[in-house]
């Protein structure tokens, strides 16, 4: 099965099962090694959930900076990662560590899905509504943490969002008439929505309905915006028709780490899905866009 634009690779084993594989790793985003481990794991696992699959096994991928960190730090990171793999019913079956000048951690994940129940990222329908399960602003916030410009409370808030698994959201969406799903990561909300449009649809966003963390807006005004976000803007904005100017438009392009799911769902299922998501702890879940016939531009911001 070919799926080059998908979030993870999918390999059909038989009529009942397909193997889903993905790998990702990141450099530290917070100082606490246990929480960094949790965030890196949540980030790695996310692609499996975006496909509508269940996690089976995971392997640790560690680049350890032994010159600047004690061995206990490595143990803490791995414990953090393990806690997240266990949370979604998976097991860690091994891994590999090498010495690197900068710390990296992530997982290689294997999961299973029924071949007919795979959620692709570019198969929405006209009239569907897009729901985003986590707030935007993680790129700016993690840059703010690196700059030491966030207070402890805001760091904790950011870390909680980053470490939250998309596991339950993935389970919940399977109960609704969902046509497409992806997770919002490095390409930002605009970039991943552009992928979803596949140049076949126009996705119309209501900018004011996109949940953005307020601390991130303050940081952005001070110029604490990662280069990846600007790169996204430079590339994706070519496909965006801006109907109204917004001061914080840059957040449409903010590169996310461990972002939420972007779910295309039948309009009549919207309220039920948002309610279930909020009840399950995805408090920022919001309707952010509607799917329309292609009208010349992939994305519209109004």
């Amino acid at each position: 099965m070919e799926a080059s634009n998908e979030d993870a690779s999918v390999y059909r084993l038989d009529d009942e099962r397909a193997l889903v594989q993905t790998v990702d790793y990141i450099t530290p985003v917070v100082d606490d090694p246990y929480i960094y481990g949790q965030i890196a794991a949540a980030n790695s696992l996310s692609d499996v959930f975006a496909m509508g699959a269940d996690v089976a096994t995971a392997l640790n991928l560690v680049g350890f900076d032994g010159c600047n960190h004690k061995a206990e730090v490595l143990n803490e990171i791995l414990q953090g990662g393990l806690s997240k793999v266990q949370e979604c019913g998976g097991i860690i079956v091994g891994g590999h560590t090498i010495e690197t000048p900068e710390m990296t951690y992530g997982l290689s994940v294997a999961g299973f899905v029924h071949p007919k129940k795979i959620y692709r990222n570019n198969t929405p329908r006209v009239g569907d509504v897009l729901i985003l399960t986590k707030p935007i602003g993680m790129g700016v916030l993690t840059t703010g943490i690196k700059a030491d410009m966030l207070d402890a409370k805001a760091v904790e808030k950011t870390a909680d969002i980053l470490a939250q698994l998309n596991y339950k959201a993935s389970l919940i969406m399977r109960d609704f008439d969902v046509s497409a799903c992806t997770d919002v990561t490095g390409f930002g909300l605009a970039g991943h929505a552009y992928e979803m449009s596949g140049k076949n649809f126009t996705i119309e966003f209501d900018f004011n309905s996109i949940p953005i963390i307020s601390e991130a807006i303050e940081l952005a005004n001070m110029g604490i915006i990662p280069a990846g976000t600007y790169a996204n803007q430079e590339y994706v904005s070519l496909h965006v028709e801006v109907k109204k100017e917004y001061q914080n438009e840059i957040f449409f392009y903010d590169a996310q780490t461990s972002g939420g799911l972007l779910i295309a769902v039948k309009e009549s299922d919207t309220i039920g899905l948002v309610k279930r998501l909020k009840d399950a702890g995805y408090e920022y879940s919001s309707i952010v866009a509607v799917l329309k016939e292609f009208s010349g531009t992939s994305l519209v911001l109004r």
């Binding site: 840059t143 703010g144 690196k146 700059a147 410009m149 952005a220 005004n221 001070m222 110029g223 604490i224 915006i225 990662p226 280069a227 976000t229 600007y230 790169a231 430079e234």
Partner: protein
Amino acid sequence: MKIDCRGLACPEPVINTKKSLDLLDDNALLEVLVDSNASRENVIRFANNEGLSVSDEITEDGSVKITIVKGFACSVVDPDGDKFLNKVLFIKDDKVGEGELGSKLIVGFLKSILELPKLPKTVICVNKGIYLTTKNTAAVEILQELEKKGVEIFSCGVCLDFYEVSDELKVGVVGNAYGTVESLLNSDGTISL
């Protein structure tokens, strides 16, 4: 000041800009050299958010030079500026002019200063002027009021010794020649009596 932020990743150019601005005096220029659009946008955002005027230009080698002005020339506020005139009152005698009238006039003059909306920053008493901070009770009372309001009052040490009233200084502190000259030269104007 000039700083080179070429090759640095976000958020370092902004952090370096902030640190450099903190070191600079008001109305000074900061030139920040960057080589990526992200750094350019971020540094300009930061400057705008701080309310500073900022401009940028592309240099010969393709880098971007961002120029930031710290503060505004027309609206810089000296915290003490509202209260004081940067002027020194230099008093060489305990009279204005001759005789009894001269004694009355100097007291009246000092009293009038008390009523002014802006006070002189410094009063320096030399030669017989030091009687105003020692033996002249009426003048001492007025100068004590001025001192309470933050006016610096100096009496010339050599003069106090010369007239043998060093023990009788009732207001202000003993000044020296160096401090006196410094005050006179740094002020925007000296009123000499």
